[in-house]
Symmetry: C2
Subunit: 248 residues, 2 copies
């Protein structure tokens, strides 16, 4: 794909941010390799047809984000890492999926509540009446925030989910305690949107960042829904795979 260095003005998005977004995207797409020295400011300025000060603003923002690393007198370098791949299959387990790609994954409970299910949640979990447990979690890979999720469970089925997740950091482990030894991914719907305020905070993103939203239903071995979850991934750090393709 040709990278078109076109900037739209008066769009509500500052030129320096458009450039920063594009450079960040090129890095996370692999078009700019990790560790490489960035072209000098003047060259970037001509390439994007903007003033040198504008490029400086973009670089400053990316440096603050940790995407670039400026070294006094040497230049600016790409600090970044490769994109992770989240492979969706019938048996989808968060930690297992990333096991070959990172050293360590962690799950952290952000909030929990017992609530009346919305029609959407009730329909997904197949609940006619009764309450649902909702947990808001976030996940890190090698201490980098990777995703945050909101999950709903039938309160009658897994009453201790909150406490069990808090101690184990794993839905799979919490299910085991409730007598659900195995579960399958019934369906996944994938969308994308701008990160909202909570996503920004937990995933440490800047406004306008893109998140991939995976809405999933997990079922037990009898085919009954046990979990309904909406997981938000930073689109810059993660991609979703279906089938057996590997990242190039």
């Amino acid at each position: 794909m040709r990278s078109s260095h076109l900037i739209t003005r008066n769009s509500g998005v500052a030129v320096w941010r458009q450039i920063a977004d594009q450079i960040r995207g090129d890095i996370s797409a692999g078009k700019i390799a990790s560790g490489v020295r960035m072209p000098p400011e003047v060259e970037l300025a001509t390439r994007f047809s903007v003033n040198r000060h504008t490029i400086r603003s973009a670089i400053a923002a990316l440096t603050k984000e940790g995407v670039l690393r400026a070294e006094q007198g040497r230049g600016t370098f790409v600090a970044n890492a490769r994109k992770l791949t989240y492979r969706i299959a019938e048996r989808t387990r968060f930690s297992e999926i990333l096991a070959t790609q990172v050293r360590e994954t962690k799950g952290l409970l952000l909030a929990s509540s017992l609530e009346e299910p919305t029609p959407e949640v009730a329909s997904a979990l197949g609940i006619a009446s009764g309450m649902v447990i909702r947990i808001d979690t976030m996940h890190t890979a090698d201490n980098n925030p990777i995703s945050c999720a909101t999950s709903w469970f039938d309160a009658a089925r897994v009453p201790d989910m909150v406490e069990d997740y808090r101690t184990s950091g794993s839905v799979t482990a919490a299910f085991k305690k409730a007598g659900i030894d195995d579960y399958l991914r019934q369906s996944t719907i994938i969308g994308a949107r701008h990160a909202d305020a909570e996503d920004l905070r937990h995933l440490k993103l800047s406004p306008g960042a893109v998140v991939i939203v995976a809405t999933a239903i997990n079922i037990d071995m009898e085919g009954r829904p046990v979990e309904y979850a909406k997981t938000r991934f930073s689109a810059d750090r993660m991609e979703i795979a279906i089938g057996n393709q590997t990242t190039f």
Copy 2:
């Protein structure tokens, strides 16, 4: 999911655009129904803790996009339509997928070229040597732009792809002419990013808009790759489904 009306200032993204993005997101997520009257400008202004003029800028942008419609003395209304679902399965055909959701789909050839494959394209198509045909296409559903795609084909395998696609507007039809009567989806990788300049133009989006990128390999019945494609969908108009879940 709680909608948090938080605005980040001095982020390079104008406040009016952050608000517009959030309202657009709420509409396309179904949190605000189609045809409904929006809260008056003053109320939105207090809710977002901004000046009424800033809200007006956001509404003006969304009106220009066709998402909202303002009527003096009466209020501002949601003009929008429902999101389409693109279901990925082994036998994935663009027009068939949307057949039940829209009246008519069209494919349009934007550009084509004969090129030396990049390592990425060569690896995906399993080509050791030789040229590839690249076509840039866009697709409309009921005359609304839905997606645009870049596809690569082995030039030796489907030499007349460009002309055949131009006349039929369908890859499936062009394959038939080249003796490929059936093909399967081997793999799909889904990512998301900001729309680039070409996406903005073809999909009629505003800067900062989000596109879902589906990178797919299609194989013939002998398992040989016949198409490598990167399709960009407007995240506001489309979602991707895997499995058998229906949209709520």
